[in-house]
Amino acid sequence: MNYEMVKRLILKDWYLQRWAILASLVGIVATLGIIATGGKVAFLIGLILLIMVIISIGAQMAVATIVTERKEQTLPFVMSLPISYREYTACKIWGNLIIFMVPWLTMVVGSSGLLLLSPSSRGLLPYAVIMSTEILLSTCLILAVALITESQGWTVAAIMVGNLAVNGIGYLVAHITGIAKGMWGATIQWSGAASALLLGEFATIALLLGVTSFVQSKKNDFL
């Protein structure tokens, strides 16, 4: 594996997507600001906007760096460089994850900070961590579908599925006894159910990325 080339290609995607990354960071800080104002309506609006911004940047990255690269025929330019398809796949997986981690971590740290600063909302922290990881999982699903299919249609379908999954799983998780019990309390109650869910999410992410790398390694035609 030529890590130097992988690094250069990740930096290329970072440069080409720099405005989208910056816009997402501004959006996240702004929505956290709305939440911080304290009202119930502001909390709900801020939360909806925050989820919208973070899902959008994950989807945007996968579409712009993978699907559009094929659609706008810049893939032959990339593949003319001294890389193998294995390195291309590594660059796209790690590049998308690293870039997504910037707004995602901003969101996780910011929202956790807000919850910890407000004594009455501390109980929401386990739920917030589980749902943040679910958004990361949805982004990995979109990334996997984009890489494997290289199709705009399938990627849009994955974005819709990922978006619906965040809502559906959010509802289900909120009704799991071990999590629902302490959600509205002033103390953080980290239950076994929360740990199991978090572990399951990370295992699914690892499985998704592993399967993606395997499928990509079996491809014979890249253009």
């Binding site: 030529n2 250069r8 440069y15 025929q73 032959p76 330019f77 003319s80 035609d221 253009l223």
Partner: protein, 278 residues
Amino acid sequence: MNGLSVHLEGVSKIYPHFTLDNLSLELPTGTIMGLIGANGAGKSTTIRILMGLVHQDKGQVHVLGRQMPREQAAAKLDIGYVSEDMRLYGSATLAWHMKFIRSIYPQWDQPYSETLLRRFDLKPQQNIKGLSHGQRVKAALLLSLARRPRLLVLDEPTTGLDPVARQEVLAELMAVLADEDRTILFSSHNTLDVEQISDQITFIDRGRIIASDNKETFLDRWRRLRLALLPEAVLPKLSGVVEVGGSGRLPVLVTNRFDPAMVSACNDAGPLFKLSTR
């Protein structure tokens, strides 16, 4: 692999509606080879296989002594590749592309890239999306040439250009190629483009190589015989005629095995008048 920049042996690739069939090809180092064929003949598939972008189902491919597709990353360090379906990043400038390529290829020749900028009349600070198609082709050529590749692979670089831009690109390319010895594989469905640049020509048709030889031999062998036939004359049957065109008393024969005896045979066949043999 002594003396061969490209060596394909018994290469096959099967698609549902197209088969590249048992292709063997040798490109000696220092040669400019034109790969000619109609659209869909298999030129791009052949080039993608030798670039490692498509894996062959059968056969051996060596490029610059590297086995493809296994060693494609190492091989591509010495290959400049421009294809008709290749685009640069529209939102970035040519200067950014040059910097990006320079960071990858240690052999990048900065003074030469600046010479090419002037020769191609390109502005480095201009965004790629603001360039015409001809300028984009020139930009892609610049990025390939300035990395000083041992092998240059050009897959239909003039396709889609209007006649003026095509002539411009070809003229610039020929001027650049005159600089020094290079090994080049140039594909086109336009025989004139290939004729201007190549010193060896390979014809590919429906996934098979039908002929490969040096340009002079081809030009010597391929002739168009324009005849004027008198009413009572009968067109003789000639071997090596691949196409009979024209109309009625003004037939045009195309041969790929021209022999001066063909002209004599035509003259002996009756009172017909040879107009030209090119």
